[in-house]
């Protein structure tokens, strides 16, 4: 056998890069359709009355959320793990046949689960729990996929050459453990067919929790899906990719450790803010608010650490569109982790709850922070896994500005819409009669819903440019090892 020097093996990383892009397009496209359905209800039946069952808002909505969370984001997390993990542990997947097998199995089973989710959600098979819509057979398959990832993750850590675990690895481990715990507890369900001795469909189930308890577990899960899906693994990415791309050491490694533990302690208790003014005990609501406000500290600890990493090197932000993506991502992280706590304050929540401001908050986080960071990570990885320069720098810069404009249109329109909604719902005359009926708010909000749709469309256009750029990178100019030290090589 040929005796070649040891190299990192990106086979599995490449597979997940592919699903990140494909599922990103699917999820964002459905999102744009939904946005226009809200602005123009006739879009609900865009493919005719006969197919209305499959194209209406309620059937597509979980497909959007699940495609972007469990499709795009999760694939991005896996793709970066199979890249970053090897590098900071200084061990190649090629060194272990077992780990390679587990990695590939992880990918193919993941793909099968994705297919099952798409089919069942289109058929309308759902548990009706937000972000946890999958019925019990799929839940079991999800657990298998997760355990496979965990085996690969801890397996790679087990054969590492670097004794200490880089801060990103801590965050990936937290992602694995956090989601495992959340997913298991929130999806405790009873298959009705088996429990009742044969009544109904075999795949149907009901939650093991009822009423307020169900709501509590659901939002403990729901909010921490944001924590361990949209925050923790994305912080893992930026702690690796920003220093690596800029060639700058993390501003303060100690601060990164501190923010890690701060985030772990605080995030898990903040979910109660989703249930303010509901039937959960009052002290729990108050604690949800307090922990949400405290959450600013560890979040800003990480974000400031990232921005200060660029200290003395700010010209790189102007020169490199890739650094731009990461710095804007970090800025949006600061911004949405300030906005969230503000919304969790009880008096603000009285206006914000159930309005579009919440939707705006989620999207400045996911579009500005999660989306930008995952795309930046893939941009950084592409020249290294394909050994070719990024196809076009100008295309990347154009994409950056189009998407930034999209995000700004999205969240500003939703702020105005949300606060308008909140104020109109509570307006009343001197006798306590409501000043407006619900349809009055709908009429007023129409222009903002249209602007939101346009913002989303711009983001999708930018994402298609990203997909094209990555696709063309596979046939761009080959690069030498020496070109891959820090700043990624880019064509014009």
């Amino acid at each position: 056998m040929e005796n070649r020097p040891l190299e990192y093996d990106y086979t599995v990383a490449k597979m997940f890069m592919f699903t990140t892009i494909v599922l990103g397009i699917v999820g964002m496209l459905i999102g744009v359709i939904l946005a226009f359905q809200l602005a123009f209800p006739s879009v609900n039946t865009i493919l005719g009355e006969g197919l209305a069952e499959y194209t209406n808002f309620s059937r597509l909505r979980p497909l959007h959320t699940d495609a972007v969370i469990f499709g795009f984001t999760l694939s991005g997390i896996f793709a970066t793990w199979y890249y970053v993990g090897q590098r900071v542990l200084k061990v190649s997947m090629a060194e272990s046949g077992l780990l390679m097998f587990l990695g590939k199995l992880h990918f193919w089973l993941y793909l099968i689960v994705v297919a099952a989710v798409v089919v069942t959600l289109f058929m309308g098979i759902t548990t009706s729990k937000e972000y946890a819509e999958f019925e019990w057979p799929i839940d079991i398959a999800v657990v298998v996929v997760w355990v496979l990832w965990g085996m690969g993750l801890f397996g790679l850590i087990g054969i590492r050459r670097e004794k200490s675990l880089y801060i990103s690895i801590w965050y990936y481990i937290a992602t694995f453990l956090g989601i495992a715990m959340l997913y298991l507890f929130n999806n405790m369900e009873i298959p009705t067919y088996f429990a009742s001795g044969g009544i109904g469909s075999w795949w149907h189930s009901v939650s093991m929790y009822a009423g307020t308890n169900d709501a509590l577990v659901q939002w403990w899960y729901g909010h921490n899906a944001v924590a361990f899906g949209f925050t923790v693994p994305i912080v893992a990415m930026i702690y690796y990719f920003l220093p690596k791309e800029s060639g700058q050491a993390i501003y303060s490694y100690k601060l990164s450790l501190l923010s890690f533990w701060g985030l772990m302690f605080v995030y898990l208790w903040a979910g109660g803010h989703h249930l303010l003014y509901s039937t959960v005990p009052d002290w729990m609501q108050t604690m949800g608010s307090i922990f949400s406000v405290i959450l600013i500290l560890p979040s800003w600890g990480s974000a400031i650490n990232m921005l200060l990493t660029m200290k003395g090197e700010w010209q790189q932000v102007a020169a490199s569109p890739l650094i731009k993506f990461m710095i804007l991502a970090s800025t949006f992280y600061m911004f949405s982790t300030l906005e969230g706590p503000i919304q969790a304050i009880k008096s603000v929540n009285a206006i914000a709850h159930f309005t579009d401001w919440i939707v705006g908050h989620v999207h400045d986080g996911v579009l500005g922070w999660v989306g930008f960071m995952i795309m930046a990570s893939l941009f950084h990885m592409a020249p290294r896994v394909f050994k070719r320069e990024i196809y076009s720098k100008s295309l990347m810069a154009t994409q950056f500005w189009i998407q930034t404009l999209g995000v700004v249109l999205y969240f500003t329109s939703m702020w105005i819409a949300g606060i308008t909604q909140g104020m109109m719902w509570r307006a009343h005359d001197e006798f306590g009669n409501l000043a407006y009926s619900f349809i009055d708010t709908v009429t007023v909000l129409h222009p903002y819903y249209t602007i939101r749709g346009v913002g989303g469309l711009l983001y999708l256009v930018g994402f298609l440019m990203f997909a094209y750029n990555i696709y063309k990178t596979m046939s761009a100019r080959p690069v030498e090892e020496s070109e891959l030290q820090n700043a990624s090589p880019m064509g014009a």
Binding site: L6, E7, Y239, K244, G247, W261, P281, W283
Partner: protein, 67 residues
């Protein structure tokens, strides 16, 4: 005292404990500056910057085995 009140006190005690632990950790990090192996925490940034498979690890697993 009913169960809800007990839970609330428990929650408060847990929060207070976590605050003490976290501030203790800050004090520990910034006063010691180095971990148990004698590595300056800031050196660990090099795990990302020098991450080629041929680069020397910041603290190698093999060093431990030799000891």
């Amino acid at each position: 005292m009913d169960i809800a009140e007990l839970q609330a006190y428990g929650y408060f005690a847990l929060t207070a404990t976590l605050v003490v632990v976290l501030y203790g950790y800050i004090y520990h990090l910034y006063s010691k500056k180095k971990d148990a192996d004698g590595h300056d925490y800031e050196d660990y940034s090099n795990m990302a910057l020098k991450d080629d498979i041929t680069d020397t690890p910041v603290s190698a697993v093999s060093d431990d085995k030799e000891k």
